[in-house]
Amino acid sequence: MTQKALAEKVGVTRQTIIAIEAAKYSPSLELAFQIATVFGKPLSEIFNYDAEPNDRSL
């Protein structure tokens, strides 16, 4: 799936998807769930969380 297609499905800009992938933006819980729903996976398979803030990535 392209970044543009994912952005359109969850109602954000492509730049926001790029920023999430690059760990430059932590999405809201709602957006995180929307992204997980698009991929049909649980949240923990799409996102990971480390204690270091900059390690949160898609």
Binding site: V12, T13, Q15, A19, A23, K24
Partner: protein, 149 residues
């Protein structure tokens, strides 16, 4: 580039042009003592009203020109105009910075009056606080868009 990032860059350019074009004469007149007395206050108010009106016009012109230029450079005649949660978060942080700096300018002006500075100096401090707050807010937005939030 997100539409709000384009707006932040456009607003930054517009504010720089506005302060050079309208702010410099106010500064020169202040230095020359042209705003002394009650008539000086009226004159200062007229100049600031011109600055505000001119700033709006310059903002609109720069924004249109910048969007056209960007469309030509990126070869994208209809760029995305969506605003999402990231834009809103960056916008809120920008507004916070504007408020903090403008408030600091206001408090500084009150302190200046309390220690005997003139009304024009205090009013200019409030004006500079608001201008700095707005400009730094746009810089902060550009940094957030480029380097993350």
């Amino acid at each position: 580039m997100a539409s709000e990032e384009r707006n932040a860059i456009g607003a930054f350019i517009a504010s720089i042009i506005t302060f050079i074009y309208f702010g410099t004469p106010i500064w020169r007149k202040t230095q020359a003592g042209a705003y002394s007395g009650d008539e000086g206050l009226v004159s200062w108010a007229h100049d600031v009203l011109w600055l505000m009106g001119g700033g709006i016009v310059i903002g609109i012109v720069v924004m249109i020109a910048f969007h056209i230029l960007l469309s030509i450079i990126t070869n994208n005649p209809s760029p995305e105009m969506i605003t999402d949660e990231r834009d809103r978060m960056i916008g809120r942080r920008g507004t916070l910075i504007t408020l903090v700096i403008a408030s600091a300018g206001f408090i500084a002006a009150i302190v200046m009056l309390a220690v005997g500075w003139g009304a024009i100096a205090a009013l200019n401090t409030i004006l500079v606080g608001m201008a700095l707050g707005s400009t730094i807010s746009e810089i902060q937005k550009m940094v957030y868009y480029r380097f993350g939030i």
